[in-house]
Subunit: 273 residues, 2 copies
Amino acid sequence: MNRASQNEHQAVASIPPVSTVDVKPDALKGWSSLAKVCELLRIECPHSVADDVVHFRHMQFRPRQCLHTIGQPFDSLYVVNAGFLKTITVDEFGHEMVLGFPMRGELIGAESVYRKQYLIETVALSNCDLIRIPFKVFLSLGQEHPALAPSLFSMMSRANAHQNTAVNLLGAFTSEARLARFLLWMSRRFAEMGYSSTEFNLHMSREEIGLYLGSTLATVSRAFSALNASGLISVKQRSVIIRNLDGLYRLARLTTARIRLRQKSAASPSLVP
Amino acid sequence: MNRASQNEHQAVASIPPVSTVDVKPDALKGWSSLAKVCELLRIECPHSVADDVVHFRHMQFRPRQCLHTIGQPFDSLYVVNAGFLKTITVDEFGHEMVLGFPMRGELIGAESVYRKQYLIETVALSNCDLIRIPFKVFLSLGQEHPALAPSLFSMMSRANAHQNTAVNLLGAFTSEARLARFLLWMSRRFAEMGYSSTEFNLHMSREEIGLYLGSTLATVSRAFSALNASGLISVKQRSVIIRNLDGLYRLARLTTARIRLRQKSAASPSLVP
DNA sequence: CGCTACATTGAGTGAGTTCAAAATGCGTGG
DNA sequence: CCACGCATTTTGAACTCACTCAATGTAGCG
């Protein structure tokens, strides 16, 4: 229930270096127990295996580093312990699409199991600390600890469900509504991680957001400016402060064009137009 | 090869004509072996369990019938043996989104495992014959037949990967290019099912396609008309004949100038040197 | 203090949405 | 068999949002 880390907003603009938020202390241990992994993924970990001898190796990545590229043989899943990443795919004629932005507690690689090769490319957007789960170990866990099997399937399922929520973002037609939904969704995810739900740093560029939301760099930037001008958020570079949650919700629910920032004065009465 | 079935439109819940196309003969048996299910899903089925005593029950649905609604307790996965369906979700504001169109050989429900309740609503678009896999049985399979476990995870993974391919369709292309991609994708799926890849019946309405592709009924209809007029396809209501596959491909790769996002990964060598 | 990335903003245009009317197909019932 | 009604689809006309191109502004880094 802690509302940790108010430390980024203005701070981010001025103080760039290795944030203590991005790399938690315990990431430095180098190994994590199964219980820790389960906790990260928010799935049940039967007591019978809680003190298991199996431990998982941590791996650190720096911005722009790739975990894996498309076509590479699949061997491991990853669980994000700290940091921010993006997953992308390149279609049959070289068009790049952004599929998601994995964060703490999320599983990477679930879609690549069945083909035995990675279908996506995963790139670190910040310093990252990931827990590597060799798929062989993953399988053996299910064998040796029957009580754990349901959780393993839950892991896979959650990754799938996550994709669906992402699709929901695209349901809004106007760029501003899509961005509003995106921000609300990010807000929720930051809250789940124990960070502030109103002040956070998006670690991706405008272009990456655009590719994710199905629009362009310029449009995303304009949408940010519009939300900023209407007082719903404050945005400076990649750090965002949500000023008016209800207003954002109202905007996010708009599926259709027609009325947009016509209601901006209603959204923030404090700001005189 | 069997043509697409023109046999159903809005065959209401009054007439249950069992189509010989949509419901294959062997679907009438009522039960399927594990081997059959694996074959449908195109995953390996170890010989050791091929003659297993476990059998799965078939269920028939008629157009507009729901398999399950959102929030209902999750208990079973389904594998499509015959027929066409849609999966939808309703976001927090009541807006409906179409997530996919499951067809023969696809798994339904993978995203709902971890919450123990269905996150989606699945609706039959035609007469359907589905194989029900109670999740308890699914779990016990992994326990009793270790050799099968990898395949079970593959099933989950495939459902996930499927979602990703779907996202690819939504790239910021023109409506005609999106529709072209959609048709090519459907063509491939029909081919995989053993049907004609050039003549088939889309069982969904223009509106459902629109909700899936992120545009509107009218735009989808116009795109159909344009493709029809250009001779790439012939379309009459929901039945489509692909006349010029190469032309469709050319159109599908056509992008309203969306390029770039140059990748310069610091560590792993990327696809393009 | 440059350099290079990224972000903001402007102007013009085309594509897609909206609203609305007409047309088509299909089932029902006269 | 045809007339009618309903649902879906097609098409038209106006509007406007978002894309493209391009210039300017702002960080961050050597």
